[in-house]
Amino acid sequence: MLKEIASLGQYLGQTARLMVGVPNYGTYVAHQRREHPDQPVMSYEAFFRERQEARYGGKGRVGRCC
């Protein structure tokens, strides 16, 4: 039961972060280690900045509705 509540909380946190354009950092790190072990892994801070720039930096993308 406690485990379920904890994982529910995790999902809620993930959802909230993705709502503002930040995907799961852990998933990114795991992906990078698995697929590109030769390339450096961004720190959370660098990852956060990269995502912020990608969401709001423009390129004509429309992020939300009216």
Partner: protein, 689 residues
Amino acid sequence: MDILTKNPLARTASWALIALGGSGALATIALHRGETVNALWVVVAALAVYLIAYRFYSQFIAKHVLSLDAKRATPAMRHNDGLDYVPTNKFVLFGHHFAAIAGAGPLVGPVLAAQMGYLPGMLWILAGVVFAGAVQDFIVLFISTRRDGRSLGDLIKSELGPIPGVIALFGTFMIMVIILAVLALIVVKALADSPWGTFTVAATIPLALFMGVYTRYIRPGRIGEVSVIGVVFLILSIVMGGQVAQSAEWAPLFTFDGKQLTWMLIGYGFIASVLPVWLLLAPRDYLSTFLKIGAIVALAIGIVLVAPDLKMPSTTRFIDGSGPVWAGGLFPFLFITIACGAVSGFHALISSGTTPKLIENESHARFIGYGAMLMESFVAIMALVAASIIEPGVYFAMNSPLAVLGPTAESAAQVISQWGFVVTPDMLLRTAKDVGEHTIIARAGGAPTLAVGMAQIFSPMLGGKAMMGFWYHFAILFEALFILTAVDAGTRAGRFMLQDLLGTFVPALKRTDSWISNGLATGLCVAAWGYFLYQGVVDPLGGINTLWPLFGISNQMLASVALILGTVVLFKMKRERFAWVTLLPTAWLLACTMTAGWQKVFHENPKIGFLAHAHKYQAALDKGELLAPAKALGQMQRIVFNDYLDAGLCVFFMFVVLSVLVFGIRACLVARRSHKPTVQEAGGPLLTA
């Protein structure tokens, strides 16, 4: 639950129960003539419709029309980079998608539509979402997912041809301009002569700057932490705003009229959209997103707990088209007044944006595309409820233009009483006093009406009457906050679009690293929406009258474009026997937008037709007379010019949709002649092993 899913008899029985409950609720609403109906019946009817539509219609589309393939590789799997393309849990992505599609639209349209009573709006929201809105979102998401998550403009280009692609791009830019103008107008209408509201909204700017610095340098990337701090300060600023409004010293410093606020917003829009994103835009986006979700959840809980009665009649006399809030008959104008919540073309941009790049399995497109739109539709239903629990007299006082109501509570009450709604000047003054404002008269635009409704729902739960002012300004703040975020982000997006479009003629303008070209494009973009905003603010009929139909027409037009795209793809897949799924809503939207567009341009009533309005002012001008609100001949000329401009814009929107239609029909005919599917999709079956 297990019994329900495994036992076919129990399953059938439970669906029969839902159907019975829904039709019972609808019957209750329909048969209660002349008595008040509880809002819960509306909620129950809506939920039953959503459940049945999701279970049966969306499954039919998923299984037979689109044949979703759970074994097919999605863009997130093929291009997985942990950043833009990430296979994401179905429920997490649902939340992301819902937060992206739900904005001010579903909250404002239904409030304006309530002038015809709650029933027409409610029926359109329910029918529209099931057969048009959710279908559009679902199909565009599906199409984009099968094409590497490409954008709507790109998809039109590749499926219909380059010319309709460019036409659609121009159309989208003009829609952006109109949306930004109308959203900014809502803020102006809500904050004019309201020191409490203005102070609270102004306070969010330094707060967001602080949050920006916090997430950048003090505790980088701690979104949750900084959002909690932000919300605490927001609540403090609402409380402080109440003090400011009562202080003889401070209140005048935050009291502005519409024109002053317009200039401030234009200046703000320009500065905010050239600042670095982490400083102002991103932190305010955190606040507005979380506040939006929180307020929607609270509203749902509030309606269920308080179970208010609907005071608005199910239909009012204004279904004949003589309504004060917006002019024009039920057909076609109801169907463009409520866009978001029933069907919104803007969602096609979202469904072909980030969501298809994050989808983990193609089979999730049904839950995310169709499901999230049903949820947005429910937000629209709640907004309709919030507007309908207010005394109708107060509703009309808030939403009719000043030119109709006259300057005082007495004159307003008299006019509204003549329409057959009971209201006294005292009621209007008391409502204003309850929510901490000087006046609530002629505050069209949806936000203040919704705020009064929300205050009436929240205050019985928390704080009672003393908290009415707090809840009213909380609701105003929450709408203003995400509208300002949209203005800022929209100006940025518009700037890039413009640089792209102009760059084809003057290559130097494409350089996004040049201060001059950035400044120029931003200036042009702000000037474009600023012009329409200013025009709306000085409009004698309140601006919403002019701008909201333009917004509705353009938004529904984009929806028809998206549905035409869907039809073309169905033809190319050789599934034309199911093409009625998209053709039906396309035909309906075309009928609505073309009729509405035609009437807005050519209708002989100057309240509806732009040209008739222009002729009326031109005739007076020729005789050297002045018509209110113009106080000089120059203003008369400007009104005439604006009428022609609005008419031109309407014609442009009609041209866009018609040309896409022609190219769409051509593409369908070509696909029909071929004996095998001509569709080109990315990502064949991958999970075969």
